[in-house]
């Protein structure tokens, strides 16, 4: 096969059994790969009612058909499973070099089943696959685990692993690869921990072939030029990283502040990308085949928060920064380093600490609950201390590591949890940017910006731009982005490549790589198929239209200060139109006609 390797690797940890099967050509075409292929496999093989942390859940690592080629910024993979934070179908996207290495070893997907009897790691070298004892690496941080696994396997192996957070089944746990790249959100790291699987190490000597090398190269060169000519894809992200967004969002009053109690933070600039570049940036970093280089290699010299690593991204700078009422970049970056090392989600943890701060200030919890810490907004040392505790799971940290929904609910105040479908929303206030609110509410993995990044159009002026404050046209915009992103993720491309290219270029590269003709229309139709397949899964889990909503605060409490003062999100003006345009009934269930159209029945 071209693009795809043609083989799927299956490892049953309960039985200690390794098997291989041919990649189904039709399935691969209809779902592309990565996220799409994983969603299809989970839908076919895992009971939606299964315990996400039980042996019946499966964990899939899947690169896409473009992964491992020189398609620009297209070296990514997805982790697909049932997410324990909220029960949704999870698809966590990550870069680094792990995805390409899996392809070179010969696999379109790695399916992990069952549960190992004792801590284990997986070593994949081409056809040789071993389940090995992980007693000596259990308990170690993700960088140390990576070093230890490489020492025991191959110094150039690519390693995806969990940190102590995943081992302890923290519902905010990530899977980390190449030390600093994260497959985050919905607690995928806890699934790996529940299987007693500490790490997966891969080294491959095989090849990824493309069907039409000349046409592929021509399509790649065109896409490269388009990305390099784009002000964001070609220059902005390399200079300032995603953290450049702090000032942009603050300027329109849509930078959520103090647990979404406000949308404007006067000193936000101190944690923005420009400050980061001036104070902490050592150099930009690129994932495999990346021409954008948004990664930040950073160092903090301040003795109180000393450390080195990668980050922060915009969402991280926001969650540990303005959302906690904090403008100390050294502390924010330190919190990020801790999360990387222990393998925990920065968006969710920062937002959960912000929630705890609000509970504290409102007197719902006291210093007795927080191990004696005065957990007030703006208390920088307390924020870092709580991050450390959540990472290690000690004291109040164990509660924080389960996310803000469980935290706030345990004290009888779920309304202070800034979540959709129990997952923390990221750094764009839906009161000032209407379309992103609809995306959070309908997101298939709960509060999330990378399912349908309408910010590109509503805030950054893409495709001619749209007014962020209006609701007209937003259902269509959301649907387009959700479908496009589902297909893009499935190809192996990075979402940021859309700062330069779009569906036509991706479809062209996919066609030349796989030898299967993808028209733009078909590419988007596949995205719609994946979105609906995810929706069907979530409905079977038990989610209903009532879950397609935002925290009441965003619908009723206007932003208090700044440029978006007085605004709320008008979800009710958008949601019915969204269902209708999706071809779903009033209860948010895909109609039979729609499912037939998408070949989902």
């Amino acid at each position: 096969m071209f693009g795809w390797t043609g083989t799927i690797l299956r490892v049953n940890l309960t039985k200690g059994k390794v098997s291989r099967e041919a990649t189904d050509v039709k399935l691969a075409h209809d779902y592309i790969g990565a996220r799409g292929l994983g969603v299809r496999i989970i839908s076919d093989e895992v009971d939606p009612k299964a315990d996400a942390l039980g042996p019946d859940n499966k964990l899939i690592f899947a690169p896409g058909p473009l992964t491992g080629t020189f398609a620009p910024s297209a070296g990514r993979f997805d982790v697909i499973t049932k997410g324990p934070l909220n029960g949704v179908i999870a698809a966590s996207n990550s870069g680094g070099s792990f995805g390409p290495e899996l392809k070179y070893a010969g696999y379109d997907a790695l399916i992990i089943e069952g549960k190992a009897a004792k801590p284990s790691y997986l070593w994949i070298k081409d056809d040789e696959v071993e389940i090995r004892d992980a007693a000596a690496i259990w308990g170690h941080t993700t960088p140390d685990t990576t070093d230890l696994v490489r020492a025991a396997t191959d110094e150039d192996a690519k390693v995806a692993c969990i940190g102590p957070a995943g081992e302890k089944l923290a519902l905010l746990a990530n899977i980390m690869n190449e030390m600093f790249r994260a497959a985050g959100r919905t607690g995928v790291g806890a699934v790996m921990g529940s299987k007693n699987l500490k790490a997966v190490a891969v080294y491959g000597n095989g090849a990824v072939r493309v069907a039409d090398p000349e046409a592929f190269k021509a399509a790649v060169m065109k896409s490269r030029q388009m990305i390099q000519a784009h002000p964001v894809g070609g220059a902005g992200l390399k200079a300032y990283g995603t953290d450049v967004l702090v000032n942009i969002l603050n300027q329109i009053g849509s930078l959520p502040t103090r647990n979404y109690q406000d949308g404007y933070f006067p000193t936000a600039d101190k944690v923005g990308g420009e400050s980061l570049a001036a104070k902490q940036l050592i150099r930009p970093k690129g994932c495999f085949s990346c021409i954008i280089s948004c990664g930040r290699v950073t160092k903090v010299d301040n003795p109180a928060y000393q450390g080195a690593g990668e980050g922060p991204e915009y969402e991280t700078a926001w969650s540990f920064g303005p959302d906690c009422g904090i403008d100390d970049l050294d502390a924010v970056t330190k919190a990020n380093f801790l999360c990387n090392e222990y393998g925990i989600d920065t968006i969710s943890l920062g937002s959960t600490i912000a929630c705890a701060m609000e509970l504290f200030e409102r007197g719902v919890i006291t210093a007795k609950d927080t191990d004696g810490v005065q957990l007030t907004f703006g208390n920088t040392a307390a924020m870092v201390e709580m991050t450390r505790k959540a990472c290690t799971g000690e004291g109040f940290g164990a509660k924080l590591a389960q996310g803000s929904y469980r935290l706030a609910e345990s004290y009888g105040h779920p309304e202070y949890s800034m979540t959709c479908k129990k997952q923390e929303m990221p750094a764009y206030d839906p009161r000032g940017v209407q379309g992103i609110g609809l995306n959070y509410a309908t997101g298939n993995r709960g509060g999330c910006h990378v399912r349908g990044y309408t910010i590109a159009v509503e805030v950054l002026g893409g495709a001619g731009g749209m007014d962020p404050r209006v609701t007209e046209g937003k259902p269509g915009l959301d649907i387009l982005f959700q479908n496009l992103t589902a297909a893009l993720d499935s190809s192996g491309a990075c979402l940021f490549s859309t700062f330069g290219i779009g569906g036509p270029e991706l479809a062209e590269m996919l066609s030349a790589a796989t030898g299967v003709e993808y028209s733009l229309e078909e590419f988007l139709k596949i995205g719609e198929r994946i979105w609906n397949a995810e929706r069907l899964w979530n409905l079977k889990v038990g989610f209903t239209a009532a879950d397609d909503t935002l925290p009441e605060r965003l619908l009723k409490d206007p932003i208090k200060t700044g440029p978006a003062k007085g605004m709320v999100n008008r979800l009710d003006e958008m949601l019915p139109g969204y269902y209708q345009e999706r071809g779903w009934d009033e209860s948010g269930v895909p109609t039979k006609a729609k499912l037939k159209e998408l070949a989902l029945v």
């Binding site: 020189f70 491959g204 090398p213 690129g286 994932c287 495999f288 085949s289 021409i291």
Partner: protein
Amino acid sequence: MAKILMIHPDKCTGCRNCELACEFVHEGQFRPAATRVQAYSWEREGISVPMLCQQCDDAACVKVCPTGAMHRSTTLANLVDWDERVCIRCKMCTVACPFGNARYDAASSSIFKCDTCQGAPECVTFCPNGALEYVDDTQQVRSRKKAYAAKFKDAFQEVS
């Protein structure tokens, strides 16, 4: 004018586009074992370094080659070339190279070392960060030296 392939580790982001371009131009596919250039990354330190044949004037690989397969190019200056027709695959060149920049590939029964794509290196074309440059040998370090001199200039300006 003779040209030299320069590496700038300070600009390298570790993306490995150079490797992919190298694999593709030589084999029309993406096979990591086929690359003649490697961008190694040290994640903890956040440093990446591209490594490829230095085209040594006094090349150890040429000296140890018993058949003359490894030889200085007669058509292109600053190129140590490999002639697969006379090579007996004894692999002495891979042992002799102090940098590890000549390698034997069992899959294709070939010696892999940078051939500068015969004067038009694809890795340079594909590097998005200017970490690889193909420049005149007389100018190879001029820009780097001048950039460093500029730091002295700034320091002197401050104290004067």
